[in-house]
Each structure stands twice: as structure tokens, then as C-alpha cells.
Symmetry: C2
Subunit: 265 residues, 2 copies
């Protein structure tokens, strides 16, 4: 399996603290030694750092930990390979352009009978069930919405039905973003925490690091962090339920859809 990390914020924010916690699980406190990657959005553009080696030993991961890239949307993943060899083309996150936006995807879990998913023009480059499911999602979305809809909620509700179909094939925890929206889907493990004033201290579970967010933020900052498992002690992480899709924008949860059910945030 793998671990996911995502962030949505209303002001460009660095993710060094949370990423430092995740990195430990990439070979030190966790078994995810088969590669890692992180995508930062800046405006409409994005950049991805990835390495098909253990995160805890990666020189590039060290740069990302120490170099505060500020972003309003981040998608990150550390890998323990199941489907697909340990190779750069199988290292998450994956990015494709659709509707003039870069979409970035990371997946935790394992699917069966995914080979026949129709990806049409979004052809996978690697061999993972993850990239295949991403390409299938984009293909289905483009067929349903030739242009990005004026009311994105219709797109998110359709996306939720697609994710439900993938959940039927196995474990499908995912993060998806276009830089404006951060979309999460949970089948087994995803947790979120939203930090806003008054900010307090947080202590990493996986490393002896404490941060005082009050020193790092302004009173209007709103930052939501998503992770497979909580990254900090002394904070109240919310566990998402099976079949739950959430949409975050500028740090706030703007939509929640639970398989079958239908509720606004």
C-alpha cells in the first residue's frame, strides 16, 4: 500500500512540516520505500518532484523538506509497490492536462479487474492500476463534460459516481487536484484536519518535530491537510468514511458526497 498527503490553503503555504512527517514513513517509520512524489500548484502551473527511491534516503526529498515552496494546493504520495515495477513511470503523482488545466492524481490501494477500463485518449505510460484508473476517470469526465462546467458541483457529483465504481474494484483512496480544487475519495483510510485561528502547536507522530503555527500564519489563514493516517499528536483529525468524496477549495471544505447519500458541506 502507500500513503497520501494533500493540502488546500487560502494563502500560499509551505508543507515542509507535514512532508517531514510523511518522509519518515518512506523507509524509516514506515515501509513505503518504492518511491515518492509531490506536486505543488502555483497559479495555473504545477511542478512535481519525484524519485523512484526511498523518500527517507532521497536527496531530492531533503531539498523539498528544506526549501519552503508555497502553494495553495499540494498532492503527495509515498509508494509501497504492489501493481507495477519500481520505476519512475510508476511513481505518483500522475499529471495530465484536461480543459486547459493540469490535473494531478495520487492513489492508495489496490484494484482488481481494472485492465479493461476504457481510457481512450488518456493512455497510461506506466503499468500501475493507479495511473490506469486516473486515465479512465479523465476519459469519463471528458466524455460527460466536453468543457469544464459552469457549475463544477455537477462535475464533482459525476466524479463521485465514477469513484464508487472504482471502489467496487478494490481499495481506492485518492487525491485529485487542478490547483483550484482538492478532491478526496475514501474507501478505507483518509483523515483531514483544518487549521485556522486561533492556531496552536502541533507535534509530528513520526519525527521529533514540533511547530507553533501561530508563528507561521496570519489570523485569516485557513489550511486543510489530508493524510492517510494522522500526522500529528494533540490535534483532532477527522476520519473520512467509506464512499465519501470531499471537495476542498482555498482550505475550506465546499462539498461532501457520501456514496448513495447527498449532503452539502
Amino acid at each position: 500500500m502507500c500513503e497520501l498527503l494533500g493540502m488546500s490553503a487560502n494563502v500560499p503555504t509551505d508543507i515542509c512540516f507535514s512532508f517531514t512527517g510523511l518522509v519518515q514513513r518512506g523507509g524509516r517509520t514506515g515501509p513505503h520505500v518504492d518511491g515518492w512524489g509531490i506536486t505543488f500548484y502555483e497559479g495555473k502551473g504545477c511542478r512535481t518532484f519525484k524519485d523512484p527511491v526511498a523518500c527517507a534516503q532521497s536527496q531530492i526529498a531533503r531539498l523539498v523538506q528544506e526549501y519552503p515552496i508555497k502553494s495553495c494546493a499540494v498532492v503527495s504520495h509515498i509508494r509501497q509497490a504492489n501493481r507495477g515495477s519500481v520505476a519512475l513511470e510508476n511513481t505518483h503523482p500522475f499529471t495530465r492536462e484536461l480543459w486547459g488545466r493540469y490535473w494531478t492524481f495520487a492513489h492508495n490501494g489496490q484494484l482488481t479487474n481494472y485492465e479493461s477500463l476504457d481510457c481512450d485518449r488518456f493512455e497510461p505510460v506506466g503499468q500501475t492500476d493507479s495511473e490506469k484508473s486516473f486515465c479512465w476517470l479523465l476519459n469519463q469526465l471528458e466524455k460527460q463534460f466536453p468543457v469544464f462546467p459552469e457549475t463544477p458541483e455537477t462535475l464533482f457529483r459525476f466524479l463521485a459516481t465514477l469513484c464508487d465504481q472504482l471502489m467496487a474494484l478494490g481499495v481506492f483512496n485518492m487525491l485529485l487536484s487542478d490547483g483550484e480544487y482538492l478532491i478526496t475519495y475514501c474507501t478505507t483510510n483518509l483523515h483531514s484536519i483544518t487549521r485556522r485561528a486561533p492556531f496552536g502547536q502541533a507535534k509530528l507522530i513520526d519525527d521529533d518535530v514540533t511547530i507553533d503555527f501561530q508563528q507561521e500564519t496570519t489570523p485569516d489563514d485557513v489550511v486543510t491537510v489530508i493524510a492517510t493516517q494522522p500526522l500529528t499528536h494533540n490535534e483532532n483529525w477527522l476520519k473520512m468514511e467509506r464512499g465519501e468524496l470531499n471537495v476542498f477549495r482555498l482550505g475550506e471544505k465546499v462539498l461532501t458526497i457520501v456514496s448513495g447519500k447527498n449532503q452539502g458541506a
Copy 2:
């Protein structure tokens, strides 16, 4: 304008030496301060490092200089903005997937009347004439070749006619790669050098750095480097001519097409 740097090699080779020369032109010996990027192919996968700041001052560029990522195909670019603001989405190289391959593109020059180029499903994310021309090229290629042709030469010959059309719109020096092939097109400035045994010494023009390739290589290595302007003294760089398209594979030039003319390598 901008500067281009590309590499094709028959064994995974690092480009630290040449990149060190290019970096100096990104703010120190050259005026290209509006961003830089470099894409390394490893197998079918690729990874891009980019920064919308001056290369000579970029912490990420320093990592790329010091961290020997070995690759058989590299595309790099340093930018002096003309069309499109200084922003990550306008920073080369640009990458898109077609036929299950990642295609990476970098452009030096400036085009006029490019706005009406039909990109269909390959929608630009940024505002540059470069990304627009890349999207147009991929759209034209896909229309002509729904699948990657068994004899790629037919694709390269068609690509040459497309590049000729872009040359009619202005200055179009470009690098394009899918990790197997490195394709170059010249309208004003592109130079190449192919290094093979017996290897000698090379000295950078832009920095006080000398390298003895004999220490870095094996007798069977073949490495071709492409640059807008020669990067070294005491080596014989070949200047490409206007309308010349070259295809390199595993360090060797495998095809040359000159606008109108038609000659094998």
C-alpha cells in the same frame, strides 16, 4: 529570447557539466532570468525540475547541478520572457502524453499570428506562443497518426513539414523528445556536438570549469549535446542550418531533413 540544451546518449549519462554552463547564462553571463526547466527521461518515465526564477540564483538549479541524475534523453531551457508572463505555467519544458509516451518540448524564438493555431484537445495551460505551438504540433501529429507508426521516419518527415509551417510564423528553434528520440529543429541558432572515444577535455565558455570526459566515460559511450550556442571552447560544435530537423537516438544522429531537401544521416 531563450536558450536550449538537449542531450541524447547510449548509456545513462549526467548532464551536470553542460547544465553548469547553461546556468551561467541564466542571470550571470546571459540575460535569461525569467525561469528555467530541465526534463530527464528514465525509462518511459520523466521528471522535470523547473523554477520561474533566474537559474543562476535558483536553489533547485543548484541541486540539479550537484546531483548527477543519469539519463539517455534530456531537454532543458532557460527563459527570457517575450510572450506570456513570468509564471510557472509559462516555464519550459512542457510535457504532454500522446500514444502512451510523454512528449517534452522546449522552444527558443518568437512567433506571430500563432493565436489561431488549432490545438483541439491539447489545450494550452499558459499563455506562451511556445506551448501553443507544442499543442498544435501534437494535435496535428495525432490526427495524422492515430497510433505511433511502425516506421517512425514517416512521423519525423511529417513533423518536419509542420515545423516548416511554424518557421513561417517567426523564429522556431525547438527540442522535442519522448525519451527514445531527441528531435531538433533549427531556424536561427542550434549547435550540436557528438562525443565518443577517444574522449578529451572540454572547457566551459561561461564558467571556469574543465572536464576530462575520459575519466567520466567508457570507450563505447556516445553522447550528443545540443545547445543554442556552443557551451565549450576547444571543441568543434556543428551549427545547424535554417529549416534543418535532426533526429537523435542513443547519442547518434539517425535522420536529417532540411526544409525542401531530403537526406539520410
